[in-house]
């Protein structure tokens, strides 16, 4: 998968986290907001991992 697609995936995960974080915290649903936090963590990890990944794996 190209670097751009990985970043696109990261962006989508960040955005998917939004309803989970809002509805999870506002509705008192820990499983939902933990899911949101996990999505944020994975999304944020993608570009950092890409930086250190072998260049053949990206683009």
């Amino acid at each position: 998968m190209s670097e751009l697609r990985w970043l696109l995936l990261a962006m989508v995960l960040f955005l998917l986290a939004l309803p989970a974080l809002s509805l999870g915290t506002d509705g008192g649903l820990p499983a939902l907001w933990w899911t949101g936090l996990a999505l944020v963590a994975v999304a944020a990890a993608i570009p950092v991992v890409l930086r250190f990944a072998p260049s053949g794996g990206a683009d």
């Binding site: 751009l4 970043l7 696109l8 990261a10 962006m11 960040f14 955005l15 986290a17 939004l18 309803p19 974080l21 809002s22 509805l23 999870g24 915290t25 506002d26 008192g28 820990p30 907001w33 933990w34 949101g36 936090l37 944020v40 999304a43 944020a44 990890a45 570009p47 950092v48 890409l50 930086r51």
Partner: protein
């Protein structure tokens, strides 16, 4: 400001500032790309929040969620702005713009100042939220400005207009969080503090266009436009602060026409040999004559900006229209969040609702649709494709906007977590506690600057720190108006170094990854402006 039990000492202050310092280190020193540096800073902010600021994970979730929502607000500007740029490229509009403008002025110093300072300020006056950078950077590229400078110039050029730009949303938000004794004096002091900022912006941009000789050429232009920006804004404060920047920036824009008729600015700047901001091949003379004729006239090339301005003015500057459109808004709810140090953030239902029809992204989307339909009907895309091959619009858009979006999302999550964990409070209160009153007055704008750096918003900075600044002013006997004015002016200039704004520019200029190069150029200007504002503040306290 509600009482907290946050320990304010050197250790907690250094911990609180560590995510910002790490971000600066990665971007400016180690030259990481913003989409990579942002998440690392974000992870550190979360770690500091949980490990040292007694922040429950649920409060981290609230801060992160609000950060994503704040980023969505900016992404709604950057995606249509980039699409407009790509449509312009695929239709040959930028080529036509460059060639057409050369008929009015072939003076690169004039053109760089006109776009990078005057037009960027006008866009900030009406649209804001990063739109001036996203719109002006491609225009500067089209007239031959190097990519890094195409981002640096509007960042500096629009900064002064942040506080009362976007029809003074920053000022209106400030009035929501602080109860000012003398609103007029506060606006006048703020305008007085911002006046030298626009002058410094003009001078810095002229310097980039050609160092000393460009300054000698441009000084009447710089003085006239600064007088209009700063002077008119100051005078309009007596009547209606909400319109102060918009009207001043509009008059400055109109003043460009008579200035372009002055031979000093109409003819090529032959006396300016050294041009740091310009590409070596940037033309200003008759060498363009042997190129193909552009695909469209200058009037057609300016269509997107005319539509953009018309829609923005209609939706934002006509009160009944704005009031009607503002009724439609949406947002997500967030509950109250607290920490072990009693940092409490109130519940908001919804949080920071977006009114889609008065959001600057709406004007951009209308401009995109009208431009695409008209350019397609007139065959501009086909004509361009015939000469230079078909230019991919959607894949180029994704390649530009995606890395910028990831960076902006991570920056604003970082800011949200810092705010909800009390790290932001510690930063501001730490400066307050160690500063004697006069030193605090001098440094008050730095607090606004830090807030804008974190959030890329003058408004958000004032909402974050307005109460603190007012509290310190009343506790130390300093002038409340002067301290709030300094906070506001600091918030304005902080936009020139805010990573989210920089990424907005590098995304539209096609140089994602060179954020450090941009920051290294805007940071010295911003710090110099902060010193000037600090010294001027001392006159008013």
């Amino acid at each position: 400001m509600p009482e907290t039990t946050l320990p304010i000492n050197l250790g907690t202050w250094l911990l609180a500032i560590s995510p910002i310092l790490l971000l600066l280190l990665l971007l400016a020193v180690l030259r990481w790309k913003a989409p990579q540096a942002g998440p690392v800073g974000m992870f550190l902010a979360v770690a500091v929040a949980v490990l040292f600021f007694r922040t429950p994970w649920e409060s981290v979730a609230v801060g992160a969620g609000k950060g994503v929502w704040d980023a969505v607000f900016i992404l709604l500007v950057i995606w249509p702005a980039l699409l407009l740029y790509r449509i312009g490229t695929a239709s040959g509009a930028f080529d036509a713009l460059r060639r057409g403008l050369s008929r009015y002025s072939r003076n690169h110093v004039f053109l760089v100042l006109a776009f990078g300072w005057v037009f960027a300020s006008f866009m900030q006056g009406i649209a804001g939220f990063g739109a001036p950078i996203a719109i002006v950077a491609p225009l500067l590229l089209a007239i031959g400005v190097r990519a890094v400078y195409a981002v640096v110039i509007p960042l500096i050029g629009h900064a002064w207009a942040n506080m009362f730009g976007t029809l003074a949303v920053g000022w209106l938000a400030t009035l929501q969080v602080v109860d000012l004794e003398d609103e007029l004096t506060t606006t006048l002091i703020t305008a007085a503090l911002l006046a030298p900022v626009t002058l410094m912006a003009g001078a810095a941009i002229a310097w980039m266009a050609g160092k000393g000789p460009a300054l000698r050429l441009a000084w009447p232009f710089i003085l006239i436009i600064s007088a209009i920006h700063g002077g008119l804004q100051f005078v309009i404060m007596y009547w209606e602060p909400v319109l102060s920047t918009f009207l001043a920036a509009t008059v400055a824009l109109v003043a460009l026409y008579p200035l372009s008729r002055w031979s000093r600015y109409r003819e090529p700047a032959r006396s300016v040999p050294d041009r740091p901001a310009m590409k070596p091949e940037a033309g200003e003379t008759a060498e363009d004559e042997d190129e193909h004729a552009p695909t469209m006239s200058l009037s057609w090339a300016l269509l997107p900006y005319a539509v953009l301005t018309a829609v923005a003015v209609f939706t934002l500057a006509v009160p009944p229209v704005e009031a009607a459109l503002d009724r439609i808004e949406f947002g997500l709810p967030f509950p109250e969040a607290d920490t072990g140090y009693d940092v409490v953030t109130e519940a908001e239902q919804p949080y920071s609702a977006i009114a889609p029809f008065t959001h600057p992204g709406f004007s951009l989307i209308v401009a995109v649709l009208v431009t695409w339909l008209v350019f397609r009907a007139r065959g501009f895309f086909a004509a361009r494709a015939e000469r230079q091959g078909r230019q991919p619009v959607w894949s180029s858009l994704a390649a530009d906007a995606t890395p910028a979006s990831v960076a902006i999302l991570s920056f604003l999550i970082l800011a949200g977590v810092m705010e909800h964990s009390g790290q932001t409070d510690v930063l501001a209160q730490g400066i307050e506690q160690i500063s004697p009153p006069l030193l605090y007055a001098f440094a008050a704008n730095l607090i606004g600057l830090i807030g804008a750096f974190m959030t890329s918003s003058n408004t958000a900075s004032n909402v974050l720190f307005g109460q603190l600044q007012q509290g310190v002013a009343s506790g130390t006997g300093l002038s409340e108006s002067a301290v709030i004015g300094a906070q506001s002016a600091g918030g304005a200039i902080g936009n020139a170094i805010a990573p989210a704004n920089i990424v907005l520019g590098t995304g539209t200029a096609g140089i994602v990854g060179q954020e450090g190069a941009v920051l290294r150029k805007t940071l010295p200007w911003t710090l110099t402006a902060a010193v000037v504002i600090g010294l001027l503040t001392l006159l008013f306290v």
